[in-house]
Symmetry: C2
Subunit: 317 residues, 2 copies
């Protein structure tokens, strides 16, 4: 589909903000191309400028509509924005069913906006490892803001959304939704809450439930505001953006931004090292068919097998 990979040229063009080069780099990350480490090396010195916001919440609450409304607000200020919509790898979602990206089409022809839906097929460690590198690409390409939107409400999705400077959790009015979110471990990663579809019945109640639940949790030095928005008519979107900005100022003032980014990098490095090791363990597994039989026959337990293979993999070179 493309010629031989000239990484220097590609990185140079991505840094110039050329969308096709940015898209190509993102594809390489998505596919876990062997040269991803080189891409990281080339781009890293040129990163750290973008403000990174995560958007997460259950399906159907209007995350894409909210992102679209944020885009409109940021574009009015002349900012360049990159959007990463992270989908889990799924043969079903591989392009055909990305229906709600359509809600962002009004921005599709705007050269100041780069939108990319990303699946994580093939990437070891899934999106938790692919997302930070994708953010670096958009950062190095000169976007002032990067918005990371995740699909689904699970631990991994929450982790990805929380690996940003500010995490916005989007909910819709609905009985029990706040409780469900609490159970999904989402409350403590949120820096800003929005109850979207604010024109529907029960929006006020959901916001109230949420505030009550936040009072029950551990005290933090930042109290996440709970806002009500109607993204389709852009109601409350300016307030949302002000809250995101306020959170960022809070972080920057207390040294929290630097600490958060350091913590994020550390977690990424540890995950990358663990995944590299997993590849070696898998190779050791292939070399030890009798261990697989012992496991299946329950003569060896998984912890013992992990210890054995870990030693073999460590000795491997």
């Amino acid at each position: 589909m493309a010629g031989p990979l000239d990484l220097d040229d590609l990185v140079g063009r991505a840094r110039d903000g050329q969308p096709r080069a940015v898209a190509r780099l993102l594809s390489l990350v998505e596919d876990a191309h062997p040269r991803v480490a080189e891409i990281a090396r080339a781009l890293t010195p040129h990163t750290g400028r973008a403000r990174v916001v995560g958007l997460t919440g259950p399906p159907g609450v209007g995350k894409s509509t909210s992102t679209s409304a944020l885009l409109t607000a940021l574009r009015a200020e002349g900012k360049r924005v990159g959007v990463l919509a992270i989908d889990p790898s799924s043969p079903f979602s591989g392009g055909a069913l990305l229906g709600d990206r359509i809600r962002m089409t009004e921005h599709a022809t705007d050269p100041g906006v780069f939108i990319r839906s990303m699946a994580t097929r093939g990437h070891l460690g899934g999106m938790a490892l692919a997302a930070p590198e994708a953010v670096r690409i958009l950062d190095a390409a000169g976007h002032d803001h990067v918005i990371v939107e995740t699909v689904g409400v699970g631990q991994a999705e929450v982790d990805v959304a929380a690996a940003t400077d500010t995490t916005v959790v989007v909910l819709a009015p609905g009985a029990g939704d706040a409780v469900q979110m609490a159970k999904a471990g989402i409350l403590e990663v949120a820096d800003v809450f929005i109850v979207n579809k604010g024109d529907r019945d029960g929006a006020g109640e959901t916001a109230r439930d949420l505030r009550q639940m936040l009072h029950m949790g551990v005290a933090r030095d930042w109290s996440p505001p709970v806002l009500t928005t109607t993204a389709t008519s852009r109601q409350g979107v300016d307030e949302l953006w002000s809250a995101v900005a306020a959170h960022r100022e809070h972080l920057a003032a207390g040294g929290g931004l630097e600490a958060k980014r350091r913590q994020r990098l550390r977690r990424e490095v540890e995950s990358l090292a663990a995944e590299r090791f997993r590849v070696r363990v898998a190779a050791s597994f292939d070399d030890a068919p009798s261990l697989a039989d012992d496991l299946a026959a329950r003569r060896v337990d998984p912890y013992r097998a992990a210890a054995i293979l870990g030693e073999t993999a460590t000795a491997r070179d």
Copy 2:
């Protein structure tokens, strides 16, 4: 809270099916106790008998009610059943908010049923590593069936639910829900679908959408049936259980059950080895403060740092 840990005694009593011993072992796994490997070694020879079913789906669709209905059906056959309800770690969900476990209370006093809500605080690798060991405990304790229910619809939750013999995906009627599930990567792990709350408007439509979407996906040797249930009145629950049994027979007949379990064990072993390595990398990180500074200042990229620390951790003993 408890005396010194006599693991032999504890394991013996758990194998006798004593609920307090089973609960204690599950707590040790939940807390990532250093002796979890010993527990695994002691229990592994006594596992492999239980039939393991996963239940997953978005919040609020009636997973717990469906589990409860299944329990009633299985208890009528005199089967002993263990239920693991996996919650992500959350200070908010640590006991107080587990409201929907209440829906299973009718089984709480039945000695043939063991129900445990499990968070994964402290466990390296989260529930993906804790869940298989928890299943082994319930299996070794003599439960004929183990039901693993996950909260949330994310990649990790889907992975946990799919690490069972048969995966049931629960949906509720609702516009776009099937599409949202497709995006969440849930369609291809399901062995049986139920559209619960079948007495509501749109149940038939959701089931039809789902069937249509399944036709679009990759062909598999098992076509997941799409059933409509109303768990509150137990309508369709017998059909659900027949479908689960049919899937299991299909697996057993084709040698798929053994293959699936082998694959599952392999993934668990690789993850355990990778997590053990992550601990060593973290220690190496602590010993290299200048590397953290280089990362923060973008003089070193995460891939390079992972390679450096990986080498240090490998040399470590």
